[in-house]
Amino acid sequence: MAPGQDDIAELITRVALRDRRAFALLYERTAPKLHGFCLRILRDRTRAEDALQDVYVKVWRGAATFAPGRASAMTWLIAIARHHAIDVMRARVVVEDELDTAGEVADAGPDPEHLAIAAGERRRIDACLDELKPERAEALKAAYVEGYSYEELARRFAVPLNTMRTWLRRGLMSLRECLERR
């Protein structure tokens, strides 16, 4: 577990106690990371900002449901942000091919150390991705990071929908098997 995770877990339980100062601190420490997720998936500044507001409303309301022991605090927060951003994107009627605005506004500096995923975890998943066929590993990464649906992935990788489904399903199962082995 990365250093600082305990502090974030502590802040979330304080938020569950309706401690507004803890909420402000939690926001200060985690909003840039979660904002980065919303921007990357939604590719639109205003939509990402609206989504981030919704995310912290959900964090305030759902703080007491933070499942202790099961997920790390940061994983819990990231899941709320990612799934909300994906929901907002899916709700859009047309899938546009906008310019990637996320890159323009990204901070130059690296993540604060306490929010970075432990390097060991990253190495483990990279090693497991290396065991997959390259296009399948790419599709898995694109699905998680960009929030693309099966349909969008099939279009972007120019393969039939069923092929993409097979790639990702097999990829996920191999990934799990590999992560358990390592």
């Binding site: 305990d6 507004r20 840039p32 507001q53 899941a79 899916r90 649906s149 099966y150 990702l168 199962m173």
Partner: protein, 235 residues
Amino acid sequence: MNEESAKRGDDRDLLAAEYVLGVLDQAARQEVRRRIAADPDFAGIVADWEARLAAFGDAYQSVSPPGHLKAAIDARLFGQKAPAAGRFWQTIGFWRPLAIVTSLLFVLSTAIGLWNGVFLPPPAGNLIVSLQAEGSPVSFVALYQPGTDAVRLSPVSGEAEAGKDFELWLIEGDNPAVSLGVLPKTGSARIALPPRLARRLVAGTTLAISLEPAGGSPTGVATGPIVAIGQARPI
């Protein structure tokens, strides 16, 4: 495990993985969320996948949100004007509705007191709260029978260090935590609930235990770390 149930288990695992990856369409995502809410086992499988794939999150860069965003969130949650002018509890806008609500509550509670037993439906099912927290050895189970005037607490593990006490808190909605009192050093406890608090202990209400100086928090708000927390749910 026979072949068929193994197959079902795999399907469940795959669905959880696809949900976490984010590739399902919106109808399927909503269906998965219904399952997460209804099936704790399935929710656990989803949480495991969130943890497994979290390392992909390194690809995202942090981007500071604009300064006004936090004030907008506060305005949505706490009805505070953005940007904040003074502390919210110093404003008449805070006290006036509070005064009205308090008087209404007084009238209501008197009315309920008068009519209690005549019109109130029989109490709903009992509530259980499993209290625990990340990295804390302390866990308790609380039981409450709606309509009664006390909540019963049983320690599962952990005890307060010497010179400290556990204090129990009730959190409902967006309201600040209210102390329900200090827990005895050992064994089960029966914590009396005044009627105004008993009515607030419903499914979804949060109970929490904090570690406080001997005798309980000197300030009326939790000062120590939260050692266990959980939401009430019907048994």
